[in-house]
Symmetry: D2
Subunit: 100 residues, 4 copies
Amino acid sequence: MQVMIDLCVVPLGVGVSVSSYVARCQQVFEEAGLEHRMHAYGTNVEGDWDEVMAAVKRCHDELHQMGAPRINTSMRMGTRIDRKQTMDDKINSVANKLNN
Amino acid sequence: MQVMIDLCVVPLGVGVSVSSYVARCQQVFEEAGLEHRMHAYGTNVEGDWDEVMAAVKRCHDELHQMGAPRINTSMRMGTRIDRKQTMDDKINSVANKLNN
Amino acid sequence: MQVMIDLCVVPLGVGVSVSSYVARCQQVFEEAGLEHRMHAYGTNVEGDWDEVMAAVKRCHDELHQMGAPRINTSMRMGTRIDRKQTMDDKINSVANKLNN
Amino acid sequence: MQVMIDLCVVPLGVGVSVSSYVARCQQVFEEAGLEHRMHAYGTNVEGDWDEVMAAVKRCHDELHQMGAPRINTSMRMGTRIDRKQTMDDKINSVANKLNN
């Protein structure tokens, strides 16, 4: 089963600057070979369900190892069985509506 | 790694009434033997990370089998390594603050 | 327009214990006279859109005044125009499916 | 008070294709003169709290008028009083960590 997620991982107990933790997550997705795109309030990742979720778990593991005692993640997860749809497909679909 | 999640699974393409799909998810958590509590806008589940995430995946699988062509889930996921904290611990901690 | 929300307000930069901040939000909803129910990973609130959103803003205001330099909230928001549906209606609807 | 949000508005009861609804929300943010950026699983918006929330309310209003009987939105909301931080600031902060 393919899944597209948007996740925002927030470490607690490490002060207000969390960019080094967010950067580590980007490396996790890169190392996992998963298509991923960061935006200003989270990251889109798509791929096989088990591979994507293994990477999300590794984000929590790595951030705890970096010293974060507590982590609070919010995540959207989308699956569909009617057809395949990539990140670009979703964006193009809205763009087409805006241009017509 | 223990995790506490709050998830809200929303099937698309099946009309506005989604309670039978939500009920199926409750059965999935029950059958998985996971501590779970439904509220008016989601469900709290706690347990071992892999067991909880396997149940979330099974929710998507089952709802697709029930006929939902597309599913959109929103989920919070909390982990901590400083101490154990159950659902009751979290609620009692806030209640104590309100009573003092 | 009526709305039902589920929100989880997380202050950053104040350590790992956030229960006193969550308790303050419960007081904000109580003082606003809004129907609200806390669970282990957030709070359900229902009422008029403008009143509910004013209370959410006041949560951010109050927590900043308590000393939180940064706040990260995750929120679900549901509206419907086909019929009225309270928090109890939603829970009962699922419970009926589980019992049949 | 400035706020940065990431929102994902999902109409129910209108089938599986929701791109025309998402496109309408983009127009709402454009017409409101708010900085906004769509990604594959939501939209970042930043600005004054009251202006941003008025636009979110207008998204729900407009989508109901387009025929959606029910809407389920998930939203992250971030505020901070320690310093100003734009969408580009957040992205650059992570990018700097990745390059060092």
